[in-house]
Amino acid sequence: MDQDPHAKRSNPLSATDFHVLMVLAEEDLYGYAIMKAVERESAGAVSPEIGSLYRILARLVSEGFVDEADAPADASVEHRGRPRRYYRLTEAGRLAVMRESQRLRDVLELARERSLLPELAG
């Protein structure tokens, strides 16, 4: 982990950052699709508005976790005849999600040990 070029971002990710990176780990998506996927995957708990989402994307782009991308060749969704702007997870981004998932798994383990997750305790 010492060689990680983005070691400065080893702090835990915010819930929104994490969810945005998670949905992009599945596939490249455009803004509205990211919003819907985040809402869906977080069961409505995380629901960024337009301004917040794009500031997050801007930051993730600047941190090298996400890249802007052209629409995939097979994308059937256009916006008013123009191809949409897509966002793609970078290797650094993938690493960051993995690291955060690992951290969360450790936290879960701890919670389980302390019987704070009763339905999983057995």
Binding site: G31, E49, Y54
Partner: protein, 843 residues
Amino acid sequence: MKSPHRIFELFLLLFPRAFRDRFGASMRETFEDRLEESRKEGTRAVAEFGLRTAGDLAREGIRERLRPTLVEAKTSGLRNNWMGWGMMMGNLAQDLRFALRSLARRPGFAVVAVMTLALGIGANTAIFSVVNGVLLSSLPYPDPSGLITIDEAPNDPGGRPGSMSAPDIFDIESEAPSLSSLVGVNNPSMTLTGLGDPQVVTVTRLTKGLLATFQLTPRLGRDIRADEFGPDAPSIIVLGYGFWQSRFGGSPDVLGRAVTLNGVDYEVVGVAPEGFAYPSTAELWTPRRMDLEGCGRGCSTMRPAVGRLAAGATVESVQAEVDALALTLESAYPETNTGKRFLVRSLQDRVVGGVARGLWLILGSVGIVLVIACANVANLLLVRAATRTGEVAVRRALGASRGRLITQVMVESGVIAVLGGLSGLALAGLGVQLLPLFSAGGIPRIDEISIDGPVLLFTLGSVVLVTVLFGLAPAFALARTSLRTGIGSGATRGGEGRGSGRARGILLGAEVALSAVLLVGAGLLLRSFSQLYAVDVGFETQEILRFKLNLPRGRYTDLDQITTFYRTLEDRIRTIPGVEAAGSVWGPPLGSGNATGTILVDGRPEPTPEAETEASIHPMGPGWMETMRIPVLRGRGLTEADDRNAEPVAVINKAFVRENFPGEDPIGQSVRVTVSLGYGSPTWRIVGIVGDVRSRGLQAETEAQIYMPHGQYGPGDLAVTVRSTPGAPPLLPVIREEVRAMDASLPLYQVETVEQALQRQIAPTRFYMILVALFAALAAVLAAVGLYGVVAYSVSRRTREIGLRVALGAGRDGIVRLVVGQGMRPALIGLAVGLGSPYWEAA
């Protein structure tokens, strides 16, 4: 359609240019996607989405501006992390401190700016609380959007919807698949005895249980069952929660106990849940004992029927079904249903539809006040910006970026807006207390208004909008300051830039124009109000007190007994000192409870349904016309001699003559009305013509009216009308004593002066007029303050020039003309535009 996009673009401007260049297109795309999504969910969803997005863009845009974005940092290759969150917060705190210090340095400016905004935001918040509480909040029932009402449609577009007949209600309920339930309702007044003092209460009689239609379960016991209607319906009753609490102390043993109404015992079977009251004054519900044969389709005794839509149905689908059904009923029952159509409305629309236009108009007016307030504060800030060009130039020279300067000015605007918003909220709190008093019963649901979540959101939105509206112009004006002109001009004495002078002129012109629009609007409302006040109601309204009595049929069995009671009471009242005249009538003018009947003229063939004419029926005791001072125009009035044993005679009004006897002499002709009040309906010989009386309202056309002797027609419940001499002592306690002396179990109800009834009629117009006049005055004062500020500033900036002019020989008058002329030009242009605008609209 374009406006949401425009607003979005405006909010997008809050983001730094570099950010917009990179992400603006994607953000627009996402905005359109989300807007489309919320449009599918209806107007409310769009409004919520708009508010959420506006708040989010404002917050995030300002945050983004408060720190140079990392995107910029990356592209410039710096990857500088030093401008992090802490730095941003530090900047913000610094800007806040700076803003507060600079406001504190000029407290006069701060107070004027904050109070101006407080008035604008406060007035807007108060009025929005009315719009929100009355129009936007759902009615307090489960799934309120599924509730509808059906009336008999009025014959002409401006007319009032009529009552329904029970058979029509049953047919509609069974034949319209879009309805899951439809209940006929009527509200007779009945005398309650056995629970404290006797009292007249409104009892709601139903054609089926009401709670199920409203999707409510009883608090106690059960609802009225489907098998408990019809001629042999049991005497059972469901109590309102309030009635249960006040009369039975909320006792759970109430079930099975008796409530005595008009001498008949009704067994309590249930208690409605707390807060349920339909119609709005109802507290007791019983099944209607209806004999369909006896009171048929022509007998429209039910108030609007209330019902619930079936799943997936809409008001429009029900309307289409009842339109088709009305035609079927017309061919099946031509004698009663010819021309009869039904009007379906949502319950919400029926309750508040009458005031919706007026309230939106008021919100529009008060919105104009806010715009004027913003223009005023923007003007003040522009003036201040002009005095700060030197300071700004120095800061820029020292390395402050343009964005940083704009941010700082916006923070200052934000502080003023927040302070104005908080003060405005306090003013609105006061307004919410006062507005129900102004409305005098003219606005439904006004008691429900409060400063709640949506209202707070509205205020917050106003503050954000206000910050942007009045903050942007001065911010950009400052940011445009060039180093050379700024430093060269010095901080306080330089000439003002042509651009900002023009901006001030435009703002001032707009203020004057908008306040002129409001003043003209207030003038128009005042005119219609005074016209309403000047309506000739056909009688003298001063010094008249009236009340109703309801003689129970159980004890007052025949008409002679009833007549003797009223005539004796009238005689006793006439002997009270201070009473000038007294008389009784059924269906008093501008009051409740009258009926219309079809007119049949003797010697003419029975009219076809299309040719039928109607008249409102007013049985009266001797002396009532004299009490009201309704003039007898021809023939004679009704006297004591016109009793049960005399020939049945009637007098009619001018409208009756116009409709039934055009070009003929009606006196001596005989007519019949098709309605009986329970004591027969003889043929009346017309003996006189009296003046028209506005019976149904100040704005309603006078209908044909027929007056007949009470002793020849009934009924048992009359409005006793008493005219006092001017300056007489309060009569009501003495009158109560007289009634009690004759029958201790008879309560007086609907006690009011005719002036009060009149006030009720003009209450909505008066409410709108007071508010628009208030806002117009406020707008005019704000515009005047703005004008003064601009002229005073311009003079203070030109003292040197003016001094020079005086030194060169300019006279005092010339200088005044110069100054006033320059200040007045934008004001006069604004005035011309403002005064012209209503005429464009009218054209």
